[in-house]
Amino acid sequence: MADIILETKDLTRQFGGLVAVSSVSLAFERGRTHAIIGPNGAGKTTLINLLSGNLLPTSGTIRFRGQDISHLTADKVSQMGIGRSFQKTNIFLPLTCFENCFLAAQSRLPSALRFLRPAAAYDDVAARAEKALVLCGLGHRRDTVATAMSYGEQRQLEIGMMLATEPELLLLDEPLAGMGADEAMQVVDLLKRLAENHTLILIEHDMDAVFAIADRLTVMVNGTHLATGTVDEVRADPAVQQAYLGEEEEV
């Protein structure tokens, strides 16, 4: 029996009449890299938003390490050890890279309702921020203000902030979106390194990257779960070829 870290059962989310995610049951194994693919509008980002607590499910359950987290808000989910990066870069633009990561690392203090000791005196927080900066490849950009960096670097910082919270499971919504080839290569390398000691769930449209990183593929179409398996299994699945991969290759 595989070691399941995150599991959804009949997970559904409706927006008015639109069923964005429809009765999706998935199991994610610990330590593996799972990619969720599917055409635009398949409900991938909605699924990630449900897993991260940014959206609450209409029905169905989500279990993380056996615990029901279906109705936890995003901050509680993050505290459980699920980190998340956003498709649209979501960082603190006027702050330096270090300050961005410091804020992220500081969230792991038992409470940040701390009024007296200067933040700069929390060496453990600073150390975690530095570590995350180096890990995401921005060690040399420590004191650069985020607005001043290239788009690719901002994407790296996005991942760095998530790492500074030291999550066990990473939810990555299109980590390569809008990146140049060189930058994308760097991030693929980073994700491979992270995969060594984290569980990754990522949405990505870049199929070369997906095939390079992912152990398991899940295909979604129109809010429903179409297929899950190893890369080769999914590639060979005729339904998938028709619904997704076939179309993608024509583009």
């Binding site: 991260s52 995003a74 979501n90 309702l113 650069t144 001043a148």
Partner: protein, 336 residues
């Protein structure tokens, strides 16, 4: 992150020294005027914590100012309490309690809704004082005696003495500035600035942002209550105007004028606004028109307020600031 550059710190120390020696030279009228300004400065600093740091624009902050003042006034008049040691905690506790209630309701909203709900709840506080005879109704209350600090027969501090009142207010202003500076340097301060910059991201990072907003709201309300106590002691008079939305608007203008998110800016804002008002009112009966134009010009030409101007003048721009300016056009990084 909030830090004072050295030239700004030097200017502030100079200003403090000036205020410390001022009573030796100033006449009675100006000692009273500067006392009034310093009370407003304390009030404005408390609002800056909300508006400038947490990003919560409250249009009901006078509620807590008024509560502090009314509670002190009624305790003096009806309870014969005159000790500062009793009046200050009572005024602050009453404001803190109401801030906890109003804050708990208000922080569920954002933006324009937050402005409207704080305004609405503060108006309820206004009518509470306005319509109940116990609080003096529309006329307000004349406070019969001034607070003092005494041990047995020895009076250490008597706020009916205008110079004592002046120095006590100055001491409170400096203490509040230092206390808030400490809070802002601590993880709490970093957290509320993060909430102002990007609330959604703070939530995704694991912060329960409502806790921090509520804490900021209560701290700001409590300090406003302290300012209200000072106002009651200074003016020996409280009336519903102290709780009105005009008063909330005035203190918001002081924060904007002085520079949001700088802490010392609101102090400067209070001085500039009140002294200018005093000066213009001496020249023309149409002084409100002149003040209005002045505020409009300040907002148009100095969007970061007087504090922002000083920062720009005294601070040699660091390399990262320049890079930021190159990358982001006019996005301000100085006051973050």
């Amino acid at each position: 992150m909030p830090t004072l550059s050295r030239p700004v710190a030097a200017l502030l120390v100079l200003g403090l020294l000036g205020l410390m020696v001022f009573p030796a030279f100033g006449d009675t009228f100006y000692i009273r005027l500067v006392t009034k300004i310093m009370v407003l400065a304390v009030f404005a600093m408390s609002l800056d914590l909300l508006v400038g740091y947490t990003g919560l624009v409250s249009l009901g902050h006078a509620a807590f100012f008024g509560i502090g003042g009314y509670v002190a006034g009624v305790l003096i008049n009806k309870g014969d309490v005159t000790s500062i040691l009793a009046l200050v905690p009572a005024a602050m506790a009453a404001s803190a309690l109401v801030a906890a209630i109003i804050g708990w309701i208000s922080i569920r909203t954002t933006g324009i809704y937050f402005i409207m709900i704080t305004l609405a709840l503060a108006q309820m506080v206004y009518y509470f004082f306005h319509d109940i005879d116990f609080w003096g109704g529309a006329d307000g209350i004349n406070i019969y005696s001034r607070p003092l600090l005494a041990f047995g027969e020895t009076v250490l501090l008597d706020l009916s003495d205008r110079v004592s009142m002046y120095y006590f207010t100055l001491g409170v202003m400096v203490a509040v500035f230092l206390l808030l500076s400490v809070f802002l340097r601590a993880p709490f301060g970093r957290t509320i600035v993060g909430i102002r910059l990007n609330e959604g991201r703070m939530t995704a990072l694991g912060y329960d942002v409502r806790h921090y907003k509520l804490a900021a709201f209560i701290i700001a309300g409590t300090i406003a209550g302290l300012a209200g106590f000072l106002e009651a002691s200074r003016a020996v008079y409280m009336n519903p105007a102290h709780v009105s939305w005009h008063e909330s608007g005035l203190v918001l203008v002081i924060v904007l004028l002085g520079g949001m998110g700088t802490l010392y800016g609101p102090i400067l804002g209070a001085f500039v606004l009140v002294l200018l008002e005093d000066f213009v009112a001496g020249i023309t009966d149409r002084w409100l028109l002149v003040m209005g134009l002045f505020v409009i010009c300040m907002v148009l030409f100095l969007p970061n307020g007087i504090g922002g101007l000083i920062n720009r003048l005294v601070r040699p721009r660091s390399r990262s600031d320049k890079q930021a300016a190159a990358g982001a056009g006019s996005v301000g990084v100085a006051d973050g």
